[in-house]
Amino acid sequence: MSDFFSIFQYQFFQHALAAAALTSVIAAMVGTYIVSRKIVFIGGGITHASFGGIGLAYYMGLNPFAGAAVFGVLTALGIEWISDKGRVREDSAIAILWSLGMALGIIFVFMTPGYTPNLMSFLFGNILTVGMTDIRVLLVYAILLILLFVIFYRPILYTAFDPEFAKTKGIPVARYRYMMSVVMALAIVLSIRTVGIILVLSMFTIPQITAMLFTRNFALVMPLAALWGIVGSVAGILMAYVLDIPTSASIIFFLTMQFLILKSIIIIRNSMLRKNR
């Protein structure tokens, strides 16, 4: 048992827990917007397209996250523009950008001379290698997001729920939607560090649908999703340590189990209530 608690003394583990908590907070806010607007597929497009940026940055010897951020933001803005203009089917456009990003990433990584040891960490994440700089970046972004959602809560909610009606009330819908696209892309790219490209979307959806089992109030879904995200990711990290399995997969497994268990409890409770009526 003392062996188990000794892990908490290590700085890398403390960093991992802090990164998991901060990523959960960021994903909770942005994910609530994504799930509410039913644009999870767009999130997937942004995530995978950002791999093209990682590959290009590798090839050019730049910071891979900067490349991912540029590709992610451009993809998000492109998808919003396509959705706004409606000239191409939105789902088809997302699929094209999704696969193009992955293809570019693979091509650039292949063209990069030498071995690319960190590539797997971008695909599957490696929260145990998170440094203090990463945590500072996550913390600043989390604070900025909280301020953004507090100050612009109403227009964000109104434009997400019914953009046409919001437009009739003089709200600059396109401006808010493009702003949220950038916010979404940066949140996804920053979270790639924690769970990787393949699994990052889970952080932006599973805690939110878990929170929505208890409330259908946008303002309450966000903190509740953050709570479920933190509980699930911390439990996932601990399970990964105990069983010596990949951390990101363990986090997603825990988040999913959390949802399934709570959903089952609610179903059983509801059926018992119906029987007792």
Binding site: T32, S36, K38, G86, R87, V150, I151, F152, Y153, R154, P155, L157, Y158, A160, F161, D162, E164, F165, A166, K167, T168, K169, G170, I171, M212, T215, R216, N217, F218, V221
Partner: protein, 248 residues
Amino acid sequence: MTEPLVHLESVTTGYHTTPVLRNVDLEVYPGDFMGIIGPNGGGKTTLIKLILGLQPLFKGKLHFPAGRPRMGYLPQASQVDRSFPITVKELVSSGMKTRKAWVPFLSASQRKRLEGMLEEAGLSGYAGKPIGELSGGQLQKALLCRALIDNPELLILDEPNTHVDKQFEQELYQWLQQLNKSIAILLVSHDIGTIAPIIKSIACVNETLHYHPSNQLSEEVLKVYNCPVDVIAHGPVPHRVLKSHDHE
């Protein structure tokens, strides 16, 4: 002479580059209660979206002679995502036009107006509940509150009687008749039979628009208007059209 709230002159509008409505002339005056009827795909929703500023104008002129009126809008029920996590209170308050949309909280007067509106609609007990917990009729009431909370001069409703029971439909029509004492109303419906008793005039919309200054239409006139909808009245009815057309 009272100025019209809305004046459309030879307007053509549509989606992308495809026109849906051509050469539309229409004037909406204070106190009007106009039923907009026509077949599905005829351009009824396109017309109201043009007036609301949601649709591009391809040709012609859209004027607001007395300045752009405050407009309340109730969209089709199918356009509303009932699974979205938004409360009734938030839904209704989204109808308040404010220059400071970014201020996170409502002012005291806005809160008072909101509470009054919910009480009038019998929705006070549902204020904090998500819209997914409302019945079809309650949701329509909440959406109507959202349309009315900004004290509109022109109320535009797009098929408000779908997904509601007959009792609510009657309640809704009574409410609209009351509102029409101070607000001009445009009511889109594919069923003239149910709205004829409450409207004062009719706009038949099917690729173009024929205005009819009465709440009754004969089948013959509808044929001439190329407006295949149900009718409840027969026989010759005097009418005025803004767009010229020939008929017996």
